[in-house]
Symmetry: C2
Subunit: 312 residues, 2 copies
C-alpha cells in the first residue's frame, strides 16, 4: 500500500474544493474521485449530472467563482430563450454548461456509458485526475417531506431546500453496480478521503451502491473524512438543516457519528476539535474552510498527512 | 373565394423574406405559411427544423440580419464548449437558437406533434400568421452526388453545396401525410403563393407530400410563384448551380418550366420579364430582390395584386 493512490468520495461544491486541492498535491494519475450521481436528473430532455459536472469544472479550472456552481465566463442566452418559449426555467442551465448536457445525452442515447463519457470529457478538458461516477446505473435520491416523496432537484433547486426532510431514499441503488474502476480503485487505494460533502445526499448515495461500503471497510487504507460542518453550520447547502430535521445533532460530532467506524481519521475545524475528542477516529484540527486555492491545497496536505499518521 | 386567405409555400431564407412581407400586408390571421421540412435533421441528439425556424424567427422579428440565418443577438458559448468536448461543430447552433431545438426535441419525445409545437412556439413569440410544417411525418431530402447518396445537411452545410447534384430524393414523402390544417388551408385559399425559394429542395419536398400538389391544382385559387433566380443567378444558395447540374437552364424561365401549369401567375425581376414572356402563366415584372423591409412588403403587395388580376 502506498499513499500514491488516493481515492476521494465527493458530492458537488464543497467536495470539489478539496478534490481540486488533492489534484494539485497528489501525483498526476494517482487521484480517483468517485462522484455522487444520486442528484442526477433528466430535465428539458437532457441528462444532467450536477456533481460530476461540478467536479469536472473545478478540476479543469472552468468553475464559476462568482456563482459557486456552473461554468466560468458563462452566458445565459439559452435560458432566456427557453423561457420565452414557455419552457421550464427553474433549473438554470448556462450556455457553456449546456454543451456538456447535450453531448452527454447524445452519447448516452448512442449507447456509451456515463463513466466512458465522464472519462472522455475529463481528458478533453485536460484533467489529470480520474473522475468516476459511483455507478453507470440509474440511482435517484428522493426526499420524503410532509407532502410526500419528491425528486431531489425539486427539493434542492425548485423548492430551495425549504421542505422539511423526513427521510431520504436512493431509488435504484439496491440494483445498481459500481461503475467500472470503482471497486478496483477502492481495493488498491493507499488513502481514502471522504470529502466535506453532505453525508446524507452526497456521500451516502455512493455508499448505497452495493459493494462500495464493504470495499472501503475492507481496503485496509486509512479513511479520512473532512467535516462539512463548522461550528454547527454547513459552509453551504442544507446539511445542518437536514441533520436537525432527521433528528441528529447538526455538528461535526453528528457527522462523525453518522460515518461511525467506517472512518479512521477525521479532520475538523479547530473550534470543533474538542467536541469530537471522544470519537474512535483519530482527529486532526485544521482550517477546513476553503476560501482560496491555497486553502484547498493546504487542506489536501493536512488530509494526506492525517492518513500518513494513521499508517504509522 | 376571397383574397383574404393567403397560403404561401416556403423554404428558408428567401421564402421567409416574402412570408414576412405577406404577414405585414395580409390581415392578421389570414396568412398560412406551409414550411418545407425536408431539410430537417437530427444533430447532437436534437430535432432541427431549419426552414420552420427561419420562418419563425423572420415572422417574430428575431432573425439575424447580419448572418441571414439564425437568431438576432445570438451568442455562441454552447458551440465553443461543444467543440472543446470533441463534439461536432460543422452545423452552427447559437445559444438562443438552441432553446428552440431543445424544447422541440423534448416535446416531440413526449408525444406532441411537430405542427402542435410549431404553432405553440409561434404563439409564444407573438406571430399572427400560421406556420405549418408540410407534414408531421418524417420526410428527408437526400442528394445523389458522384460519391453516392448523402443527407441534405451534409451536402448543404458540411460540404457547402460543393458536390455536384445528380438527383434528389425525398425519403419518406410517399408515406407522409399533410400536417393537420394543410389540406384545408389549400382547399379554402383565396391566393396561393410559391415563395422565391429553391424549387428543388424547398418547394418540391412540399409538393411531394401526397395530396398537396393535387390540392393546389384543384383549389381554383390563383397560384403565383416568385422566381428565386434573377438574371441567371440565385439571390442566395445553390439554386442556379443545382439547376445547371440537373440539366436545366438556370434562369427564371427554367424555374417557370419546372413549375409548369401548376402556376397561373409568375413574378420576375424586370430584367427577366422578356425571357419568360412565352409561358402560360401571367407574368408580372417587379423588383423581386428584397433588401429592405419595405422591399418585402412591396413585393408582397405585387404578388397579391397579381393574384387579384388573375381573378378578374
Amino acid at each position: 500500500m502506498s499513499i500514491k493512490d488516493v481515492v476521494a468520495l465527493s458530492g458537488g461544491v464543497g467536495g470539489a474544493k478539496l478534490a481540486l486541492g488533492l489534484s494539485r498535491v497528489v501525483p498526476s494519475g494517482s487521484l480517483t474521485v468517485i462522484a455522487n450521481t444520486g442528484d442526477d436528473f433528466e430535465h428539458l430532455g437532457l441528462s444532467i449530472c450536477p456533481d460530476i459536472d461540478t467536479l469536472t469544472y473545478a478540476l479543469a479550472g472552468l468553475d464559476n467563482p462568482t456563482l459557486g456552481w456552473g461554468r466560468r465566463d458563462e452566458t445565459w442566452s439559452f435560458m432566456e430563450s427557453v423561457k420565452a418559449l414557455g419552457g421550464e426555467d427553474w433549473f438554470r442551465l448556462g450556455d457553456r454548461d449546456l454543451a456538456v448536457h447535450v453531448e452527454r445525452t447524445r452519447r448516452l442515447r448512442s449507447g456509451e456509458t456515463l463513466s466512458q463519457i465522464t472519462t472522455d470529457f475529463a481528458a478533453k478538458l485536460g484533467i489529470g485526475a480520474r473522475i468516476l461516477p459511483m455507478s453507470d446505473d440509474r440511482v435517484r435520491t428522493r426526499v420524503l417531506s410532509d407532502g410526500g416523496w419528491i425528486d431531489f432537484q425539486d427539493y434542492f433547486v425548485r423548492q430551495q431546500c425549504r421542505p422539511v426532510v423526513r427521510a431520504l431514499s436512493f431509488d435504484g441503488a439496491p440494483e445498481s453496480r459500481p461503475a467500472p474502476g470503482v471497486m478496483q480503485a477502492l481495493q488498491t487505494a493507499g488513502t481514502i478521503v471522504i470529502c466535506p460533502s453532505n453525508p446524507f445526499i452526497s456521500i451516502e448515495p455512493i455508499l448505497a451502491v452495493p459493494g462500495i461500503r464493504d470495499a472501503i471497510r475492507a481496503s485496509g487504507a486509512p479513511v479520512v473524512a473532512v467535516s462539512p460542518i463548522i461550528g454547527g453550520k454547513a459552509v453551504k447547502g442544507p446539511t445542518a438543516k437536514m441533520m436537525a430535521e432527521l433528528g441528529m445533532e447538526a455538528t461535526a460530532l453528528g457527522v462523525a457519528q453518522r460515518y461511525g467506524n467506517m472512518i479512521s481519521g477525521y479532520v475538523v475545524e479547530h473550534e470543533d476539535a474538542a467536541s469530537v475528542a471522544g470519537i474512535a477516529a483519530r482527529v486532526t484540527a485544521a482550517k477546513t474552510l476553503m476560501l482560496s486555492l491555497e486553502d484547498r491545497e493546504t487542506l489536501a496536505r493536512v488530509v494526506l498527512e492525517a492518513a500518513d499518521a494513521l499508517r504509522r
